[in-house]
C-alpha cells in the first residue's frame, strides 16, 4: 500500500532508523461532530522492525499513538546496504510492509 517511509542511516556502529507510517490511528473515543456517533477504533496494534531476518523491535501500540505515526529506533550490527524491514498490522487486520537499505 506504500504507507511506510523508512530512513536507515549508519552512524559509527549504530544504525538509526526513522520511519513514518500513514495511518489515521483512530482511538474509538472520538465523536463525529455531525452525527454525534463514536468513530470506530482503527489503529495499528503491532509493528515489527527487522534487520535482515533478525527482529530488532516488536512494538505494541494503542490508539494513543499519534495519527500518521513516527517511530525511531537504533541498533548495532548494521552495515551499509543491509536491509531494514518495517511491518505493521492494525486492529482490522489491514497490514503493510516495506524494506529500505541502510545508508
Amino acid at each position: 500500500m506504500g504507507s511506510i517511509k523508512i530512513r536507515a542511516k549508519l552512524k559509527g556502529e549504530i544504525t538509526e532508523v526513522r520511519t513514518l507510517i500513514k495511518h489515521k490511528m483512530e482511538t474509538g473515543l472520538r465523536k463525529d461532530k455531525k452525527t454525534k456517533k463514536l468513530i470506530p477504533a482503527h489503529f495499528i496494534q503491532e509493528v515489527t522492525a527487522k534487520h535482515g531476518d533478525i527482529e530488532i523491535v516488536h512494538a505494541h501500540w494503542g490508539g494513543a499513538i499519534s495519527k500518521n505515526p513516527y517511530f525511531s529506533f537504533q541498533f548495532k550490527g548494521g552495515k551499509v546496504g543491509d536491509d531494514v524491514t518495517i511491518s505493521w498490522i492494525d486492529n482490522k487486520g489491514e497490514k503493510d510492509s516495506a524494506t529500505a537499505k541502510i545508508k
Partner: protein
C-alpha cells in the same frame, strides 16, 4: 521463635519461592507476545503495571525522557526515551491522565539500543511514565507535560 511464628515464616518463604518459580516459568520471551488488550484497556497506571507484570518498579536516573514541557497540541506530543541500563528488553510509554494510560510497548531483540522515539496523544496535562525492563527487572522515570489542547476525544 516459637512454633507458630516459625510456621508463619516458613509459609511466607515457600509462597515467595512458588511465586518466584512461577515468575520464571511464565514465558518471558516478549518478542513472541501478541498484542494484549488488557494492557491497553487498563484504566490506571498501577493497573497497567500489574498487566505488564511490573512489580517493585524502581525509579531510575538512567532513563531519560525527552518531551516538551508544554505541548500546545496534545494530539502530537513528540517523545524520546533513552536509557543507559544494560540488557534492555522493553520500553513502555504511559501518559497517566489518558483514559487508557499505556500508549505503547517496544520489545527489543538482540542488537537493539535502549532508545525509542515516537509521537503520542495526551488528553490533558499529565505525567509521562517510561517503564524500562532491563535484565529481568523494571525501572521507571517520570516527566510532566502540560497540555494546552487535548488530543483525545473531541
Amino acid at each position: 521463635m516459637n512454633r507458630r511464628l516459625l510456621l508463619k515464616h516458613s509459609l511466607a518463604t515457600s509462597i515467595a519461592a512458588v511465586m518466584a518459580t512461577a515468575g520464571i516459568t511464565i514465558p518471558t520471551n516478549s518478542m513472541a507476545a501478541a498484542w494484549i488488550e488488557a494492557e491497553f484497556n487498563a484504566k490506571a497506571v498501577d493497573k497497567v503495571f500489574a498487566e505488564l507484570g511490573a512489580t517493585d518498579v524502581a525509579q531510575s536516573d538512567k532513563i531519560t525522557i525527552k518531551a516538551p514541557d508544554i505541548a500546545e497540541n496534545g494530539a502530537v506530543v513528540p517523545i524520546t526515551i533513552s536509557t543507559s541500563l544494560e540488557n534492555v528488553e522493553s520500553i513502555s510509554i504511559l501518559a497517566d491522565q489518558n483514559e487508557s494510560p499505556l500508549t505503547s510497548t517496544f520489545n527489543f531483540g538482540k542488537g537493539a539500543v535502549g532508545f525509542v522515539a515516537t509521537r503520542i496523544k495526551m488528553g490533558k496535562t499529565a505525567n509521562l511514565v517510561a517503564v524500562v525492563k532491563a535484565g529481568g527487572k523494571f525501572y521507571q522515570a517520570k516527566k510532566e507535560v502540560k497540555v494546552t489542547i487535548g488530543g483525545c476525544g473531541g
